[in-house]
Symmetry: C3
Subunit: 134 residues, 3 copies
């Protein structure tokens, strides 16, 4: 297994960060296999969606509806409503796998791999890419 | 890695399509390993649920509640409310992996692998099956 | 592929069960690769969240909001509202993969692997761990 860690700075607001280019670079030349994208943080997830046409914003809106930043959460610390950030990875998991053929991610035309990060208290993020050849 | 693409016609309404039989056929005779089911579309996902007792309909109802087909979405094109179709893959991911032993999917008795497709504007769908032996 | 099954007793209320220690034991000494955690039940899922600070309770609350235990569900059997338990795995999938390096799960500091089980009618649960070396 070949593995590497991306270091990201996500800033102070909920964000959707496109990882596609870095991920495509990682698998280039590696042949066939499965790529795993894993986020080792308890308040972030990985999704595969279209970006650039508003869906990243729409996703944050849907997450606000599902997991409001109010005082309903038992897990209380940090910014108001931060407890919801800890629930998000149950819905937007911190792990996803993609098939790779001849060093190329088999994404559809409109798919991008994104980090979904609601946490505004910790802008330093890591993403682990792992390739298992087959 | 052995890989193949299923071609599906999902029709003009939100749908849950059972992929279990085709997937079981694909892994038959392949020994032990992990199977990845990946949908290369930005408005579809893959789930593992029971089908045939109403849960496929219940899932579409729950998705309607979470992601209504109204005008709240920034991503505007196609049928009314289509923007929500682009958010769904963040919740129902387009990728899932299953263990395979001696060429048999290790699904539970009541589990089926399904394509979840809200998009009514694109009925032609592809699903990539990839098997990594181990 | 090395694979094993954990046997769990989850009791008579919706529960979040920490699988991290058992999973860490399973991969110890196995080198580098991907671990797949798969639940062969149609009313349970696997998540990676923080536990011990209230987020497990918060997750069950969020699931109650998204999937209420009322009579809206087509799939009717068992305890009142049990139909929602069959929808949950579309959102909290029964499968997740994690990178393993030198026999150690590459979880973040605050991440735990948990079984999410809403079903109060079937307390006997199995979880399959599968390791693919690479």
């Amino acid at each position: 297994m070949e593995t590497a860690v991306l270091e990201l700075h996500t800033g102070g607001s909920p964000s959707v960060v496109d990882l596609t280019a870095d991920t495509a670079d990682f698998v280039r030349g590696k042949g066939d296999g499965l790529l795993n994208v894993f986020v080792p943080h308890a308040t972030a997830g990985v999704a595969i969606i279209e970006v650039g046409a508003g869906s990243d914003h729409d996703l944050l809106t849907a997450l606000n509806d599902l997991l409001p930043t109010d005082n309903r959460w038992s897990h209380v610390h940090g910014s108001p409503g931060h407890g919801r950030d800890h629930v998000m990875p149950a819905f937007v998991a911190p792990s996803v796998a993609l098939p790779v053929i001849d060093g190329v991610l088999q994404l559809g035309t409109w798919q991008s791999i994104v980090l979904v990060d609601l946490n505004i208290d910790n802008p330093e993020r890591r993403v682990r890419l792992s390739f298992l050849a087959g």
